[in-house]
C-alpha cells in the first residue's frame, strides 16, 4: 500500500480477544461499520478485531458530527454491535467503546502491547460469561394500578358520577364538585397512586436485584432510561415493549453462560405477580458493561 493510500483509511477497532483459529474464522465472515471486511491484528497472545474505514468519515470532525445525529449514530452502533455480537460466541471477547479509531494497524498492536496486563485478566474474568440487562418499570397499564384512567371503577369515573345537585346546597353551584375541585381531587389521587406504584416497583426492583445477585458474578447499574428514545416503539425490548411506565432500574449482570437461562427465568419469576410493575430482561449481550479496565477514569459512575 502506498503512503497516500494508507492515509485514506483508518483502523476501526471493535474488540480485543485471543488470537485463535476460531477467532480468525469468526472475523472472516464479519463486516463492520463501513461495511468493510473485518480482520484480526495480532501481537503475541492478544488480538484485536479491526477493519479499515474511510478516513473522511472517521476523522475527528466527521465522526463527532456523525455521533450527534441519531440515524448515523444508530448505524454506527449497530455496525459495531454486529461485529462484537459475531465474536461473542467465541466465549471471551472484550468489546471496545464505540468509535475507537487508529491511524494504522501498528498503532493497534502498540496499544495491545501497552495494555496487555489489563486485557489478559479481564479476558480471563469474562470468558464463558454473558451479560443480561434487567429493567424494571412502573406499569401504568396494569389493571390493578390505581392511576389507570381506563379503569371504570377507578377514581376518575367516581368523581364524574357524583350527581349534580347532590351537594348543591353547600356548593351553591350547578355542579356537585366545581371543575377545579374535581380536578384537584383527581390529581391528588393520581399522584398518590403513582407514588404507590413507584414504591411497589422499587420494592420489586430490590427483590429482583437480590435474586439476580445470587446467580451473577457482577452487576453494573446504568442510568434509568428516559426521554424520547426510551418511549419509541421497540425502544424497550427487541419485541417492541409495551409503552409507558417509568424505568426505575436499568442494571446489567454478568452471568456464567451455563447459568444464563436459569438467571433469566429466576429474574422473571421474581417479578411475577407484582402489581403495577413490568420487568424486561434483555440479552444475552456480549459483556459490554463489564469490559472496564481497573482504572478510576473508566469505572462506571456510581448510581
Amino acid at each position: 500500500m502506498t503512503e497516500s493510500a494508507q492515509r485514506q483509511h483508518m483502523v476501526y477497532a471493535y474488540a480485543v480477544l485471543r488470537p485463535t483459529p476460531e477467532a480468525a474464522r469468526a472475523v472472516a465472515v464479519l463486516r463492520g461499520v463501513a461495511d468493510e471486511q473485518v480482520g484480526l491484528v495480532e501481537t503475541g497472545d492478544l488480538a484485536a478485531a479491526v477493519g479499515p474505514v474511510p478516513a473522511e468519515e472517521f476523522e475527528e470532525g466527521a465522526l463527532k458530527a456523525g455521533l450527534e445525529e441519531l440515524p448515523r449514530l444508530e448505524a454506527l452502533a449497530r455496525g459495531h454491535h454486529g461485529v462484537v455480537a459475531g465474536l461473542a460466541p467465541l466465549g471471551a471477547v472484550l468489546p471496545l467503546r464505540l468509535a475507537t479509531v487508529y491511524r494504522d494497524e501498528d498503532r493497534v498492536r502498540q496499544v495491545l502491547q501497552e495494555r496487555r496486563d489489563q486485557f489478559l485478566p479481564l479476558l480471563e474474568r469474562l470468558a464463558g460469561h454473558v451479560e443480561w440487562g434487567v429493567k424494571v418499570y412502573t406499569d401504568p397499564t396494569d389493571p390493578t394500578d390505581p392511576t389507570d384512567p381506563t379503569d371504570p371503577t377507578g377514581s376518575l369515573a367516581s368523581d364524574a358520577a357524583v350527581p349534580a345537585g347532590a351537594t348543591g346546597g353547600a356548593m351553591g353551584g350547578e355542579e356537585a364538585l366545581s371543575p377545579g375541585r374535581a380536578y384537584l381531587a383527581a390529581r391528588r389521587r393520581r399522584r398518590r397512586g403513582a407514588e404507590e406504584a413507584w414504591q411497589t416497583a422499587a420494592r420489586t426492583a430490590a427483590r429482583i436485584a437480590e435474586e439476580a445477585g445470587c446467580l451473577a458474578v457482577g452487576r453494573v447499574a446504568h442510568q434509568p432510561q428516559r426521554g424520547e428514545l426510551a418511549q419509541m416503539p421497540g425502544g424497550g425490548t427487541a419485541g417492541g415493549g409495551k409503552p409507558g411506565g417509568e424505568n426505575i432500574a436499568n442494571d446489567a449482570y454478568l452471568v456464567s453462560a451455563d447459568r444464563a437461562e436459569e438467571f433469566r427465568s429466576r429474574v422473571l419469576a421474581a417479578a411475577e405477580g407484582q402489581p403495577g410493575v413490568r420487568v424486561e430482561v434483555t440479552g444475552p449481550w456480549a459483556p459490554y458493561s463489564f469490559a472496564l479496565p481497573p482504572e478510576p477514569a473508566a469505572r462506571p459512575e456510581p448510581v
Binding site: A88, R226, A230, L292
Partner: protein
C-alpha cells in the same frame, strides 16, 4: 450444558434487533475505553455523551418526562 455458548445464545447475541437505547447504554457507557489516535479522546466521548443526552434523556425541569405522574 457446558461453559460454551449454545446455538441459541449465539443467535441471540448475533441478533441485530436489539433496542437502540439498550445498545447505546452499553456502547457509550460500557466497553473498554482506549484513547484512539486522531479521534475522540475519552473526554470528548463524554462530551458526546452529554450532547446525546439531549436526544436520549431530555429530562430536566424545563422538559419533564411525558409520563402520567
Amino acid at each position: 450444558m457446558s461453559g460454551a455458548l449454545d446455538e441459541e445464545d449465539a443467535r441471540a447475541l448475533a441478533g441485530r434487533e436489539v433496542a437502540l437505547i439498550d445498545l447505546l447504554d452499553r456502547l457509550l457507557q460500557g466497553g473498554v475505553v482506549l484513547a484512539g489516535d486522531l479521534v475522540l479522546s475519552i473526554a470528548d466521548v463524554d462530551l458526546v455523551r452529554i450532547d446525546l443526552r439531549a436526544v436520549i434523556a431530555p429530562v430536566d425541569a424545563e422538559h419533564p418526562a411525558p409520563l402520567p405522574l
